[in-house]
């Protein structure tokens, strides 16, 4: 695709063209090229986002988030600042590690990518993270959340700038602790997708609950596969286990499908359903229609209606101006990824010096739309995981973001520092796998 010299208008053209293609042929993956031309660019970022299937919304919104970040950088240039010129290439790994690795290799070989970004699925992100380490390409992850990527499998070249499963589950554990004081719940069940993210989320939740001294009984742990078409046997199994609270790590279309199937049973009459990592996403709010099922406890990595800061309102408005709709959290994640890379290059002063870039990213502070007043996110130098606050709430009627008639409200806010994994826990987890998976003969020869 020929690059356009006027980045903003050109990229909008590309987005519209790409959306048209997506609408015309939803199963056809499409490559996006945004920002500066190859000749002008200070750095090339290769991003991988799903553009098809149940999680296509994440890819589409991420592209818009990237565009907003690029627009902001152009605006800074016009204002007399000197942010780096970035070229962003995005493609669809179709939620497969093999696809993703191949596309990432091509980003490096053919597009001279200096950074990887994105990747919604943790399973896919693991494979790309391994590649990043081998190829010495800095990977700035957004939206995949398995805490293993930053703790057990963390390495110098891997960074993540959206909340991970630990952060979400640490916030969720606090919410459940407080809920237990109100309701006295005891029986806990978990249902998560049968891949890295689901299992790590469950481990993180248990560790967080144990760390808080919450007493509970695990009555069931179920693992439907990613993109499971029928959750009925899992819903039946959950109902048979009679849990007080079900925590789920199902996300995107899977979570929506689960809710829709569960709503046809008496599930919500007897059980609270909590999704602390992705459940409050805007596409879920739309899918709920006007049915605020009782017992839903939700959070996400970014909310359109929290925090009510000028930065967040501006971001949501920018997204709405570009697309005519409201963003899912993926947009802010992708926005953060591009901004983080830009700020790191600025700070390092050289887009080709890996060590300087890594050093710049470690501890990098970013004022982001999701930051509550008085706090700025920062990247933890040890885990390379961004440290952020999180808000958990329940579903309330709110038609400020149509067509959704519901949004999350009744917020419980948890400070970023409280949600950060302790150094002891990080060390313990890393030590536990020493001689483990990473010691297995390398998966790639």
């Amino acid at each position: 695709m020929e690059m356009l010299t006027r980045p903003v208008s050109g990229c909008i053209t590309i987005i519209i063209a790409a959306f048209t293609l997506l609408v015309a042929n939803g199963a056809q993956a499409e490559r996006f090229e945004l920002g500066a031309s190859a000749d002008e660019a200070d750095a090339v970022i290769g991003c991988l986002y799903p553009m098809t299937g149940r999680s296509a919304t994440y890819g589409r919104d991420s592209i818009v988030g990237i565009q907003i970040a690029l627009d902001d950088l152009v605006a800074e240039t016009k204002a007399g600042l000197t942010p780096p010129k970035l070229r962003v290439i995005a493609d669809d790994p179709r939620s497969k590690a093999s696809y993703a690795v191949r596309l990432a290799q091509d980003f490096v070989a053919k597009d001279n990518a200096r950074f990887f970004c994105g990747i919604v699925s943790s399973g896919v992100a693991h494979a790309v993270s391994d590649l990043a380490r081998q190829e010495k390409i800095i990977m700035v992850g957004t939206d995949h959340a398995s805490s293993r990527l930053s703790i057990e499998a963390g390495h110098d070249y891997y960074f993540r700038v959206t909340n991970d499963s630990w952060t979400s589950m640490a916030a969720g554990a606090r919410y459940l602790r407080d809920l237990q004081k109100e309701t006295g719940w005891k029986r806990l069940a978990f249902v998560g997708p049968d891949y890295d993210y689901g299992h790590v989320s469950w481990t993180d939740l248990q560790l967080a609950l144990d760390g808080l001294g919450v007493e509970y009984e695990t009555v069931s742990a179920l693992w439907p596969k990613l993109y499971e078409p029928d959750y009925s046997i899992y819903i039946n199994a959950l109902q048979s286990a009679k849990p007080d609270v079900v925590v789920t790590a199902l996300w995107g279309g899977d979570f929506i499908a689960f809710i829709k199937q569960a709503s046809t049973t008496r599930f919500f009459e007897t059980t609270r359903l909590a999704n602390f990592d992705t459940g409050a996403n805007y596409d879920v709010m739309m899918a709920l229609g006007d049915q605020p099922y009782p017992g839903l406890i939700l959070s996400a990595r970014h909310h359109n209606n929290w925090p009510e800061t000028g930065r967040n309102k501006r971001f949501v408005a920018q997204f709405h101006d570009l697309t005519g709709r409201y963003p899912t959290y993926a947009a802010e994640g992708a926005y953060t990824g591009v901004i983080a890379i830009a700020r790191a290059i600025e700070k390092a002063g050289d887009a080709d010096d890996d060590r300087a870039l890594i050093k710049a990213l470690e501890g990098l502070q970013l004022a982001l739309p999701e930051d509550p007043p008085g706090f700025a996110s920062y990247i933890d130098p040890d885990t390379h995981q961004i440290v952020q606050a999180q808000a958990v709430g329940t579903v309330v009627h709110n038609e400020d973001f149509p067509p959704s008639k519901l949004m999350v409200g009744n917020w419980a806010i948890y400070d970023a520092e409280d949600l950060k994994p302790s150094k002891e826990m990080v060390k313990r987890r890393r030590d536990a796998v020493a001689g483990g998976s990473e010691a297995v003969p390398p998966p790639t020869p």
């Binding site: 590690a97 494979a127 299992h199 742990a221 596969k225 039946n236 020869p445």
Partner: protein, 586 residues
């Protein structure tokens, strides 16, 4: 009371029979319903566990076998791939790169966690993680050991496992085969790390929710549910087809799941039916008591009438039911019976009195005439004033006796009515001619009013006599300044003539007596005027009705049939009855 005992002593009253009939119907319906219910539940179980289930189990077995066949095909393709030995022996060769690409694509299947390679001693040599990989051996070798897992052989493939889900990890099984020997002498095997739930999820189509749960028995004897977790087998297990040696489908049948609600429903059906019977019995018992009480009242009324208490009336109540209708009919009957008896008694009384009066009159009238003539002669010749006065008084008394005798004769021999069309104005005019002077003398105002053009079908002389009798009575009842009026009105097929006065009125207790012969409230009356008037009115097919209140006045209403030109007069049944009475009297 005998009537009360009569109803209570019924061994099986009507109400009791209806009660038994209703209970019998409910019981029969219940028995029939129970029969069909039992039959339905038996058929339901037969169908659920019968032929249809067998077909479903066979289809499910095919699905599981097809799943395994696809994995077998996948594994055989990998194990025989020409580039695979190079992947083991020469990792950096182009063939190894080619094999790795293939392995990554195969490992990304949603039903696999990855592709594993083992050395000759079952030690994990290397692996290719798929998108769904998690837990051991991808995260850690800790706890990874396949040596203790069950193993079966099928079509040259070694099936190892299942490894059950535990500690937050998913369950799996390995399908392993040695890679093709290309002369390098390697002794390496390749295995698909298969997601156990992908196999067990296929079981779900064979089940019947809550009743028949399809399960998968594995070589270790452990039975898995559709989510791939060990199942707690509580019901009967029906063996199904085998999909691998040692792996077979079993059906856990819980007939209680469906029978229990059926039994519960049946139990509540019986309870409800019993309650209905109890309620029916209670309702019928209450109805029976109420009905008996009301029937007893009827019987009591009948006995009272039979005992001669013709004034006994049954309470009719506000209900409009059968008993109320019977009570009304009973009261009507009592009224009619009393009326009939009254009429009969009066007719017989009149007949006797008439005969007596006629006899007396005949015997008295002639001597009176002689006495009158004699007194008149004596009076004419008498010069002494005092004696003349005494003779005049005697003459007046003889006249009075003559009037009484005439009344007696009129009463005893009422003349036949000769009805003809008569205008009311003629009647009123003639009446006024007589009554006006009398009223004037008594200082009483007299008037006639109403529709003077009305016509009646009556004997004008008799009705005129009636009007004169009533008019004179009315004038005499009035004080000076009082008012007496005659008014005529049409009322459907009848003409009503009202004789009204504002005189002394008749006490309530005498209202029924004033038509009795020889009853009078006047000092000089014979007590026959009203009786004769009633006779004459009835002789003209009329009716007489007296309303009066003491010190307010009296209204006597006469009803006569109106004239219908060219048509015969329709006869009121009551008139017919009166005619019959009259005939008997005659």
């Amino acid at each position: 009371m005998s009537g009360f005992h009569w109803s209570r002593n019924q061994r099986l009253s009507l109400v009791g029979r209806y009660t038994l009939l209703s209970v019998g119907v409910v019981v029969c319906a219940l028995v029939a319903l129970s029969f069909f219910y039992q039959r339905f539940s038996n058929e339901l179980i037969d169908r659920l566990t019968g032929e249809r289930l067998s077909a479903q189990v066979a289809a499910t077995s095919n699905k599981l076998s097809a799943f395994l066949d696809a994995r077998i095909y996948q594994l055989v393709t990998l194990s025989n791939h020409p580039a695979l030995p190079a992947f083991i022996e020469a990792p950096n060769s182009p063939q190894a790169e080619e094999a790795l690409t293939l392995l990554r694509v195969e490992a990304d299947s949603p039903d696999l966690y990855g592709v594993l390679f083992f050395d000759w001693n079952d030690n994990l040599d290397r692996l290719v993680a798929g998108q769904a990989a998690s837990g051991p051996p991808y995260w850690s070798k800790t706890g990874w050991d396949i040596r203790g897992l069950p193993r079966v052989e099928h079509e040259g493939i070694e099936f190892i496992g299942p490894q059950l889900p535990e500690n937050g990890n998913s369950g799996w099984l390995l399908m392993r085969q040695h890679i093709r020997d290309t002369g390098f002498g390697q002794n390496t095997s390749v295995a698909l790390h298969v997601r156990l739930s992908s196999l067990t999820e296929l079981l779900v189509s064979a089940g019947v929710a809550g009743v028949i749960e399809p399960l998968l028995r594995t070589p270790g004897g452990i039975v898995l549910d559709p989510t791939g977790r060990p199942a707690e087998v509580t019901g009967e297990l029906i063996e199904g087809p085998s999909i691998l040696p040692g792996w077979n489908i079993v059906m856990s049948v819980h007939p209680g799941t469906i029978l229990q609600p059926i039994d519960q429903t049946r139990f509540w059906l019986y309870v409800t039916a019993t309650l209905i019977i109890v309620v029916i019995l209670a309702i019928f018992f209450a109805l029976s008591r109420s009905l008996r009480r009301r029937v007893d009242t009827l019987v009591q009324g009948a006995h009272s009438i039979a005992s001669g208490d013709l004034y006994y009336r049954l309470p009719e109540g506000r209900r409009r039911d059968e008993i109320s209708t019977v009570a009304k009919a009973f009261n009507t009957m009592a009224w009619q019976l009393k009326d009939l008896i009254d009429r009969t008694v009066r007719a017989e009384k009149l007949a006797v009195l008439g005969q007596f009066a006629t006899g007396v009159a005949h015997e008295v009238r002639n001597p009176l005439a002689t006495m009158k003539t004699t007194v008149q002669a004596l009076t004419r010749k008498e010069q002494d004033v005092e004696r003349k006065v005494l003779l005049d008084d005697m003459g007046h008394q003889i006249d009075r006796l003559s009037r009484v005798v005439n009344d007696l004769l009129a009463y005893g021999r009422p003349g036949e009515a000769a009805p003809q069309n008569t205008e009311i104005r003629d009647l009123f005019r003639q009446s006024a001619r007589v009554l006006e002077p009398i009223a004037k003398d008594a200082n009483v105002r007299f008037y006639t009013s109403g529709d003077s053009g009305l016509k009646l079908y009556i004997d004008p002389d008799q009705v005129l006599q009636v009007l004169l009798n009533l008019g004179i009575n009315a004038i005499q009842a009035c004080k000076a300044g009082g008012t007496v009026g005659l008014r005529a009105e049409q009322n459907e097929a009848w003409v009503e003539i009202r004789v009204t006065d504002d005189g002394a009125g008749i006490p309530k207790q005498h209202l029924l007596d004033v038509v009795q012969p020889f009853f009078t409230m006047k000092s000089k009356g014979t007590g026959l005027g009203l009786t004769i008037s009633q006779q004459l009115v009835e002789a003209n097919h009329g009716k007489i009705h007296i309303e009066s209140a003491p010190q307010e006045g009296t209204t006597i209403t006469l009803k006569f049939p109106a004239t219908k030109a060219g048509t015969a007069q329709e006869e009121d049944p009551e008139d017919v009855q009166e005619d019959q009475i009259t005939d008997r009297r005659r």
